[in-house]
Symmetry: C2
Subunit: 323 residues, 2 copies
């Protein structure tokens, strides 16, 4: 069935607003921010063939498009409020749009946020979401607050770790063969990331800096180090992994955990004295946190193994124009 632009907005993306003053269907949405709070804003664009494969189930694509944006709010310690969606579609296809909106709105409901506006157009399949959140002045987690002596931490699912999304991608590419269950788990990590919103909120006043892991640990952590004017040593063997990834050859394990990308976990720093508070924050947020290294005054990122020997890590940070 051929749906027009206004039909499809009404049909799949319009619900009564609960919190916004004015939602989908006017020139602008109107929100009433809490007086005195700061507004946190982030925008991410997902392009078919670049950020997702054409065979991804639309419901998972809807989930992921919002998840990667919520992950940015999480990394700032912001409480999500609302989002806009701009969508370019090759055609208005109900069989695609119905599950897409279902996956998107299910995650929105989970975080009690509203789709307040956006745009639809014909074009190569592209999703651009902009999210809004609130944070009390001065309490946002930023990239520039890491200090020498701070511990370096990563969040992860209890009993699992980093790198599964990359493992799933390598399995799709045919570079790795996984068991049925291992493949499903890795694919789920790639397609259904869980943004660490609750952890970001719990880390306000506990962490000194944070970033979400989208492009790979070494590259993302590098941004924190550069903006904070510090360096770090991390222990590659301390990086948590799933059982499926732990069973892979060392080189692949290193690549997936250190430079995998698409983890959407948080990497953050906290004073050594806050270690217990970090663990409590993670536990309260339903995830785990593992200390993987330490911030140092000397610039640069040093990667060592459990014996303290240097680990060659020449994986570049993921760059959309260099890969």
């Amino acid at each position: 069935m051929a749906l027009g632009e206004f039909d499809l907005i009404a049909r799949f993306f319009t619900r009564p607003v609960r919190r916004a003053v004015l939602g989908v269907g006017d020139d602008c949405a109107l929100l009433q921010p809490t007086p005195g709070m700061q507004l946190a804003v982030s925008s991410d664009m997902l392009v078919e063939g670049r950020h997702f494969v054409s065979t991804v189930p639309p419901e998972r694509l809807g989930h992921k498009a919002l998840a990667v944006n919520l992950s940015d709010l999480a990394a700032c310690g912001a409480q999500p409020l609302a989002f806009t969606l701009a969508l370019a579609l090759p055609r208005a296809d109900e069989a695609f749009l119905a599950p897409l909106s279902r996956g998107l709105l299910a995650l929105a409901d989970e975080h009690d946020i509203e789709l307040v506006g956006g745009d639809t157009t014909a074009g190569p399949l592209t999703l651009c979401i902009t999210v809004f959140g609130e944070v009390p002045p001065g309490q946002a987690l930023r990239r520039d607050g890491a200090r020498p002596g701070d511990g370096v931490w990563v969040s992860h699912p209890p009993g699992s770790g980093l790198g599964d999304a990359r493992l799933g991608l390598e399995a799709l590419r045919g570079r790795v063969v996984l068991s049925g269950e291992g493949f499903e788990q890795a694919r789920r990590a790639m397609e259904m990331p869980q943004p660490r919103v609750a952890l970001g909120l719990a880390l306000r006043g506990v962490a000194t800096s944070a970033i979400d892991l989208s492009d790979g640990l070494t590259g993302d952590l590098g941004h924190v180090l550069a903006r904070s004017g510090v360096g770090a040593t991390i222990d590659a063997d301390a990086l948590p992994t799933s059982a499926a990834l732990a069973a892979q050859p060392l080189a692949l394990r290193r690549e997936c955990t250190l430079a995998g990308g698409d983890d959407y976990e948080l990497a953050f720093t906290a004073p050594a004295a806050h270690a217990q508070r970090v663990l409590v924050a993670a536990s309260s947020a339903g995830c785990a946190a593992t200390r993987i290294g330490r911030i140092e005054a000397a610039p640069g990122l040093r990667i060592v193994d459990a014996r303290g020997a240097a680990v060659a890590a020449t994986f570049p940070a993921f760059d959309h124009f260099k890969t």
Copy 2:
């Protein structure tokens, strides 16, 4: 020269923030809204081959991408504050990005707003901008406030009118032949729309409803009528036009003014008693406003000519999935 993603963000799109708490380069931007004000948000996506031709000068493309978003704020009577840009690019090409950012940031400077964040990725050329503005509670111009007896107005450049953007497109398509000067003027209307931000602000408390003309007058006005639960009669011969468009055959003139699209003027309604205030608002905003009809209780849009005879207007509202 091959630029990487982070290089190009730094080089073309990062400037020191003036008003934002935190700008480009962290997981989120942080803004400090004025306590008590409502936040107006709009998001528009421009796709090559659909919203602009591949031969558009990049500086004009940068201008237009922001202009169409500012136009949405204008239609709400919101004061622009900041915007994000998500950009998919076939390649990181300096000869394209330098003028693109120049055109974009020149218009941003004109409206004293900041680029606070966004995303860049490889992909088919696509620009997605989300703008933020502020408006005092209850003062936003909306689509649902038109009342029977209100006048229907459109803004336009002094001495010119609606439909020039469409005329320019038809000239590019070879359907119309214009003089050199006429073509330049029409092309400028298409590529360099001037968002009516000052007019939108001046119409707070004067207009009862407003919308920006992006998809064509009849379709856009139809949204106002539907949301307000009213109808209207407009006089097709009262629609202001440029000299170049006035010289075209009647059918083309009607098509361009009534259904042209891409005008980015405001269509708005105001009580008859506010006519003088409308003219003062337009004059203070450096544009003209012409009364083109009247809101009526009977649903539907009736189009008549200067003699009161019905004008056949079967132009569909522009729909990205139906044209």
